[in-house]
Amino acid sequence: MSELKETLKAQIIEQLNLEDLTPADIQDDMPLFGEGLGLDSIDALEFIVLLEQFYGIKLADPSEGKAVFSSVNSLAEFIEKNKK
């Protein structure tokens, strides 16, 4: 699980062009949207692309993503549960 989280952080930085950050800057429970990393609605859609591209998980409805994308912890849990 912790390996998955580290991979995720690198992927988030790469996919969302967060070039000022390193994986160490993202804490597992840090809110990704709003105050935390300051991500926005387009980033949320890029998360959907990321899930599909790297983990083969399809999210049909972006509103499902809200809870899933709230932190690295929640993302990792969701991937563990839904990974094929």
Binding site: D40, S41, I42, L45, V49, D61, P62
Partner: protein, 362 residues
């Protein structure tokens, strides 16, 4: 400063609803929709409802549609007018011919228009997202007011493509049903394709509808999401009223943007509320034409001209149940109007908003 009156007249309209102005006047009055389900057009072969012109070939739809449109206009005008020193052409298109990719999708468009009509002046092309058409009309009036031109022809055109469909699909902005602008259950947009053209001129014999002014304002908020408070649209309308001296209570109807996405329609409801237009009959034409991007501002202005001529506001197709933050007067049927002023608005990516005012002279 004395303002020179500028007249505006529709000259061509091609969409799934027909090939000329008369076809459209009838179809719109009857509330017919050009939207139909197109099989396997999505990225994962999904079926999406679209307003597709079925007579266009699959390849180079843009060039074909542009050619047909240019020919239609040429039939209406003496070639001496098109070739005249005092004629300018302004084109509104967001994407051009995407079949040209990886080459520039706008390659060849200037040459095509220029040689076909033997124009004296280089055509001007505006690519300003979904407000392009309204901006093109605004610029046409500027050229007439501040320069030596006597007539400006504004063309609005965009066509359906995998590129744009996949793009809006990736934004989760497409509706799998015919779109429902301002409705409680709206799910997103349907894409469409169209060609439209209007004439702006100083010649009062060409039209009894006066173009007053158009104003644009940026939201300064987000590149793809509209301002939650409708700030840019509100500012455009407020300034439009300021410079023209027209009041909210003078407006017969609003031909609004109404894409049927959750946020766009909501934003408009806020802007209209702030502009004291809550009770003004309002409709979106996206339920008829789909969202035609660079063509939208032009073809929806044409429809507004029809409304002024007929003294009605069209039924806002797809609307059943109120569902915006601020109340709106959405037309449930074709609605008789009493005043002579029409307000056309548009909003788009890049934060653009535009408001345009026209008046019919008795």
């Amino acid at each position: 400063m004395a303002i020179i009156p500028i007249y505006i007249a529709p000259i061509a309209l091609i969409s799934p609803l027909g090939n000329d102005l008369e076809d459209h006047k009838i179809a719109l009055a009857k509330n017919l929709s050009g939207i139909a389900t197109q099989p396997k057009v999505g990225f994962g072969d999904e079926n999406w409802p679209q307003a597709k012109i079925n007579t266009l070939p699959e390849k180079n739809r843009f060039d074909h549609l542009l050619n047909i449109g240019l020919d239609k206009i040429a039939e209406k005008f003496e070639s001496s007018l098109l070739e005249h020193e005092s004629t300018l052409v302004i084109i509104s298109s967001t994407k051009g011919n995407l079949d040209l990719l990886p080459l520039n999708p706008f390659d060849g468009i200037f040459e095509m228009v220029k040689t076909k009509w033997n124009l004296k002046h280089q055509p001007i092309l505006i690519s300003n997202a979904c407000i392009s058409g309204v901006v093109a009309i605004q610029k046409a009036a500027d050229y007439l007011r501040f320069q030596k031109f006597h007539q400006v022809i504004v063309l609005g055109i965009d066509v359906l493509s995998d590129f744009v469909t996949y793009g809006f699909q990736s934004l989760f902005a497409l509706s799998d049903e015919p779109c429902k602008p301002y409705d409680h259950n709206r799910k997103g947009i349907n894409l469409g394709e169209a060609f439209g053209a209007v004439l702006l001129t100083k010649d009062a014999n060409q039209s009894n509808i006066v173009f007053h002014q158009a104003i644009t304002s940026n939201d300064a908020n987000h590149i793809s999401g509209p301002s939650r408070t409708g700030e840019g649209l509100y500012r455009s309308i407020r300034k439009l009223f300021e410079v023209t001296g027209v009041k909210a209570s003078d407006i017969a109807f609003i031909s609004a943007h109404g894409t049927a996405t959750l946020y766009n329609d909501d934003m408009e409801s806020q802007a209209f509320h702030r502009s004291e237009l809550t009770n003004t009959p309002t409709f979106s034409l996206k339920g008829y034409f789909g969202h035609t991007l660079g063509a939208a501002g032009v073809i929806e202005t044409i429809a507004s001209l029809f409304c002024l001529q007929d003294g009605i506001a069209y039924k806002s197709l797809g609307f059943e149940e109120e569902g915006t933050t601020c109340a709106m007067h959405i037309c449930r049927e074709n609605t008789k109007t009493t005043s002579k002023f029409a307000l056309k608005t548009a909003s788009g990516f890049g934060g653009g908003n535009a408001a345009l005012l026209m008046e019919i002279k008795s």
